[in-house]
Symmetry: C2
């Protein structure tokens, strides 16, 4: 018997799977509604994914961008937080199945289960080119990047040393661009005074993109600015190059081979298994194709939101997989649940694009607010302030502000810790 | 060929193994001396061990109490930091052996290799009752403690739930006392509003000690105060009880069995393998018995300091295994090396005990400065200020001060993150 079953049964039971931006926003928006809520996540923390690359590059500590889910909902007695792994949905009996054999009954189900990185049929590349979706991904990448410099410091063979000092990022969307820019700054500014045998300034940071420009979601001129900014940081930008192999020795693309010991995958995502759980229609990235009211076709009591769905915006283009879109969907679903309980009906979900932001490096960012575009120092300040604003709680805002202040003023990154198997340096 | 061999050979070569308090202090103190220094550590970071229990109890983030060793020595071009694992010492040929086959030549060697927790011949207890010496130990303990509450929240069997909510700390030295007090506060204050099915206030925290009092290194009245303070926090203090078994089900002591899913070992340490490397005389805890000038008997060019040695203070009692003792020994060794290079000789090492501090909980601490003793709120403030003072750098001081402010004002602990295998909750 699970805790959710212990709730009074006269209330409408909402189960929300996933405490990312979408699931958490839906939970918040349901405050005051006559429902009991069970929020299930296989992590105990909500993660501010837009800044995850800063953990991977030693700029921020894990606890600066993550909050215990329970803590965020401590003042909501009608919400039960469940730390558990969902393995499926029994839609006929209206139950969510957990991998330990338990199940949770629901009247309305909200699937906000997100996405993982995808290797387009080449899952064998993952050990060589890990992606960045969880805190563990970030601390693993941080360890790999820092250990590469440590090994290069001790390596006397010039070829092997060059491979250790070559960092390849695959995919030039926002995450790829932000990683490339930050690793370049780490090598050029932060680490340089610390090493004796290597010049970290000589590290190569290579950004490989299959498309024709970086930040393809942004207007042409901002893409061009982003590319120039990356190149001014020393990043080598390779456009129109599809990666054909990732291995322990490096990467192959367009007939070239590049010896590199650190590869990072930022080239694509695939949705969670939600579509499989329901046998529902999905696109190539396994994203559920939902109705205009965000319900799953044939399942009016099951909503799906965020990175795990695909739906078009009012401009006919797909809604982007970003935090504001997931949050808007969370709000819409909560409002729809409340309306239904009142016997009302809402008009279809309508995505409103507020804007896109990406940081390239210190005092270098691009902002596309549709009507007006911005780049450079002012854009960078707006980027920073916006991200601190969207963090939860004064404490984390203060903590991140101090961390950024230190990076800005001193080029120092506090979280340069090699943990988890640190003593094995290998050769 | 290693980096250390690339240094000019006309300088006296000092190799320091271990960048804890002793090794780092020796390195600092050698500034300006006509020596080249190689500082080897199997971690990339110096750790402020006195606050490690606060990482284990989610009060502080890992990066708040650890610094990259390279960064601390970035302004010292004569110091080479090596991230490597030492496997032995070839004293005849004056070389330090690394586990990857390399070796480092030395003229003077300083062994500051520290200690690990010891199970007094019961190493099989380690998986059930882990200790606390490294950052990984701390995040592992943090995960165990937080997962125990999560599992209890979902457990309906009263016996299993009680076992999940029973936390046993073995050993009532400063680490054991600080862990017991902080876990009690975590359960009573921090976690209570977050759970729905369990009353975290009902969690049992049991401190088992083989000796007759807690904090045996402190005067009787401070021990008594510490015990009363722990008991006022709800900690059950069991004195004169030797643990006879640790298992997945709990702990056995003095004929009793206590069902508990979380055991923590704080009962003893054993020195590193330094004595074995040299075949040198050691005590039962493998601590090297050193000469009055901190050299290893028969090896005037090898010093050993910190937790890896045993030596008596001017009062005839063993020098305690605390940070100030290791630092004083680091200073003494550096001064001796400098004196020898000038053809001089120093008088034997003389330990000066500055005092002992331990925190029990919020506004509860004990201080023994020998001449005067202190307990309660004022002691707690001095404890806090002293620890912030001994942290390195303004940034970490600020960051820890903010974290403590939040714990103090809001009972909130920011680092309540379950990472590393978090999705497997198990049963």
């Amino acid at each position: 018997m699970t805790s959710a079953q212990a709730r009074p049964s006269n209330l409408h039971r909402v189960v929300i799977v996933g405490a990312g931006f979408g699931g958490l926003q839906a939970t918040h928006r349901l405050k005051g509604a006559p429902v009991s809520i069970t929020l299930v996540d296989r992590r105990n923390h909500h993660l501010f994914q837009p800044l995850l690359y800063q953990v991977a590059t030693a700029s921020l500590a894990t606890s600066e961008i993550a909050w215990p889910i329970r803590y965020l909902l401590r003042d909501r007695p009608e919400v039960t937080t469940l730390f558990a792994n969902v393995s499926g949905v029994d839609a006929a009996n209206k139950r969510v199945l957990l991998d330990d054999g338990d199940s949770l009954p629901y009247d309305t189900l909200v699937l906000a289960t997100g996405a993982r990185h995808a290797y387009f049929g080449h899952d064998e590349w993952e050990p060589f080119a890990p992606g960045l979706k969880t805190l563990e991904d970030a601390t693993t990448l941080r360890r790999r990047i820092l250990v590469a410099f440590e090994r290069a410091e001790r390596e006397t063979d010039p070829e092997r040393r060059a491979a250790l000092l070559t960092f390849v990022i695959i995919g030039a969307g926002p995450t790829g661009v932000e990683l490339a820019g930050t690793i370049a700054e780490l090598a050029r500014d932060t680490l340089r005074p610390d090493f004796r045998n290597i010049d970290t300034h000589a590290a190569r940071v290579v950004l490989i993109e299959a498309g024709q420009r970086v930040l393809a979601g942004f207007p042409d001129d901002l893409s061009a600015y982003a590319q120039r900014s990356l190149e001014s940081l020393g990043v080598e930008v390779m456009l129109g190059q599809a990666v054909t192999e990732c291995s322990v020795d490096g990467v192959a693309y367009g007939g070239n081979r590049l010896a590199a010991k650190t590869l990072i995958w930022a080239a694509g995502v695939r949705a969670s298994s939600a579509a499989q759980w329901l046998g529902a229609p999905a696109d190539r990235a396994f994203r559920l194709q939902v109705e205009p009211d965000l319900t799953v076709p044939g399942h009016p009591d099951i909503f799906a939101i965020g990175d795990t769905v695909t739906i078009n915006g009012p401009d006919g283009k797909p809604v982007p997989g970003i935090a504001p879109a997931a949050k808007q969907q969370g709000v819409y679903v909560a409002d729809t649940i409340k309306a239904r309980l009142r016997g009302e009906k809402l008009s279809p979900f309508r995505y409103q694009h507020a804007g896109s932001l990406a940081q390239i490096g210190k005092r270098k960012a691009v902002i596309d607010f549709g009507r007006f575009k911005l780049r450079g120092t002012l854009a960078w300040w707006i980027w920073g302030i916006a991200h601190i604003y969207f963090l939860i709680g004064l404490r984390n805002r203060l903590s991140v502000a101090i961390s950024w202040l230190w990076i800005h003023a001193r080029d120092q990154r506090a979280a340069r810790l090699i943990t988890q198997g640190s003593s094995k340096v290998g050769r």
